[in-house]
Amino acid sequence: MNQQALIAILLLSPLIGFFLNGVRFRSTNYVLAGSIATIAVLISFICSVLLFLNLVDLPPEARRITANFFEWIAVDKFKINAGFAVDQISSIMILIITGVGALIHLFSIGYMHHDKGVTKYFAYLNLFIFNMLILVLGDSLLTMFVGWEGVGLCSYLLIGFWFNDSAKAAAGMKAFITNRIGDAAFIIGMFILFMTFGTLNMHELNMLAPTIAESSWLGAVTLGTMMLFIGATGKSAQIPLYVWLPDAMAGPTPVSALIHAATMVTAGIYMIVRLNGLFIVAPNTMMVIAIVGAATAVMAATIGLTQFDIKKVLAYSTVSQLGYMFLAVGVGAFGAGMFHLMTHAFFKALMFLGSGSVIHAMHEEQDIRKMGGLRKYLPITHATFFLGWLAIIGMPPFAGFFSKDEILWKAFSSSQGHILLWAAGVLGAVLTAFYMTRLMALTFWGKSRVDKSVHPHESPWLMTVPLIVLAILSVVGGWVGIPHVISEQIGHIPNFWEHWLEPVIRKLPTVVEGAHHDETMLEWSLMGISVGLAAISALTAYIMYTKKEGASDKVAKAFGPVYQLVNKKYLVDEAYSAGIINPLIEGSKNLWYYVDVNVIDKATYKVTDLVRGGGSFVKSLQTGNMQQYAMYIGIGVVVALSFVLMR
């Protein structure tokens, strides 16, 4: 089949699904709605696979399929096509999006079947897939931005899906507005790049990027990429714009899995990888990205330690993992970043869906303090969740291990790397292991604290099948990118991942010079440190939360105010509202009251009053006494005469 047609079908299929469900959004026929939506995404998935196979057939340097459907905006030199490109990077993304997406759609049929708005829900979900595909396929920054904002919109709609709850609607709004801050910077970034390079086509931008790294902070590339990165911090929930993501858990759980774990939130990383040719010549930006990523990874992880809402824990975990990815791209490990993106998509989607299954079973209960011992009620969920847990804490040979290890190694060894970045990464890993284990322990293991009225039960197959598939992926997903050091030991399994991405990824040199053997040793030892620490951490958590009742409280008490601070999420939200939002609203009220009402209108009234005052004055001269009138005439005559004759 024609490649362009494939791309068109890929894109349009979810859109058609959206319309089919959208026009009958009040229907409660969840089977029909779910089937339409799932089939639409499945079609896209098939197209993605076909495109991927087509791509594989092409020679590595020519692996790029483009489709220009029409000219979108054309003003003067600014010409943007509705153009889409499938290359090595985007092909992986569309596979993840449609693949994981299809699974989550399937899961949703089971999860949402009791909801009145199920058709609307599926419509939104399809719309999201459509926008996400535009985001990843768009071959220029602007077309990407279309999807970028589009997914934001869907996220807004889906977070606020249960709009009758004011807090949920507010969470949606918060997500949109926070993202808008990033988007504003993104727009400026596009302008800088367009003014510098005369194009927004990402392929061309990568080509045109200078070969020599730009050292100035105010260089066009540095500024431009910095702005794009600020955009990414909004979409991918990094410091300082991450605050929306935990609140976004107000949406239905499959949405959290799809949008707020697997796909949308990774858009920032994807964008940077897509523009790696550009970012790599802006070392300052790279440094900022790495630092922000590392900081976010650690900070979000610490918050994750203290949360009791199952989805909140996962949300902070997502923020933390996204931090990892930024750390990766920040140190120039674009391939590793993408790799972690993919594995994370698998295991985090799995965990979210798993949590969904738990919540479903627990009748909308999300507090892990009220769970415990669910293993026996939810065996499949537990098993799959368990695999996901192993993946996320980076236990070999699960998916997370390979990608996380790659990132840590690059953070240490790349020319952009630094030992502190590595240390932060390891700290993050340790914390992750701890809170994830805590989550497992409190939810599935130990004694049941389940309320008597609740009778947990395993979810139907519609929900467990996606869990199983994702669990398998979480296990094997990492095997496509086995590092050399390991593959050398176990039989030279080629690193498909690196090989595949090689033509489109620019690499930074490794600074750890020296003999090949030393490097290998180093890599092994670093790997050992991180895995070992993580394992210890996980074990500690396991003991603390299953074996020793009350140990956690003691620890919490020991930390006292620090614990409180972390539990309250470092009071960032409060600081934002006290420092920015409330002053803005109060200030605006004052602006309205003082400037509009008291200055401008008052000034207008002053003018009218002046005129009216003049009128009253003239009126007061008009006394009705004719002699006074005659006097005016006399005065007029005298003044006029003296003026005429004197001068």
């Binding site: 009126k619 006394t623 009705g624 006494n625 004719m626 002699q627 005659a630 006097m631 006399g634």
Partner: protein, 108 residues
């Protein structure tokens, strides 16, 4: 205008000054007096001042038109007096009042 000597002969200036004084008196009357009839008289006085001025100019310039104009002015003054008195009479009949301070209802 013939040469005149302020001190020895009575010249145009004297007449004109007289006319100006009369005119001013009339003006002052209009401005200050309260009685309607006196007001009418003051206006007549002003017109007559004009007449003196006309005659003076006519006499000293040797042009006769000025004197003719006086006739016109006198006629019109008479008509004006007639109208004025008619108004005054009708007002007095109606209101029993000739003080012009009475007529201050229209104002503002």
């Amino acid at each position: 205008m013939p040469e005149t000597n302020m001190i020895t002969t009575i010249g145009a200036e004297h007449y004109l000054v007289l006319s100006a004084i009369l005119f001013s008196i009339g003006m002052a009357g209009v401005l200050l007096r309260r009685n309607l009839i006196v007001l009418l008289m003051s206006i007549e006085l002003m017109l007559n001042a004009v007449n003196i001025s006309f005659v003076t100019f006519s006499y000293y310039s040797g042009k006769v038109e000025g004197q003719i104009m006086v006739f016109f002015v006198m006629t019109i003054a008479a008509a004006e007096a007639a109208v004025g008195l008619a108004l005054a009479v009708s007002i007095f009949k109606r209101f029993k009042e000739v003080n012009i301070r009475f007529f201050e209802h229209l104002k503002g």
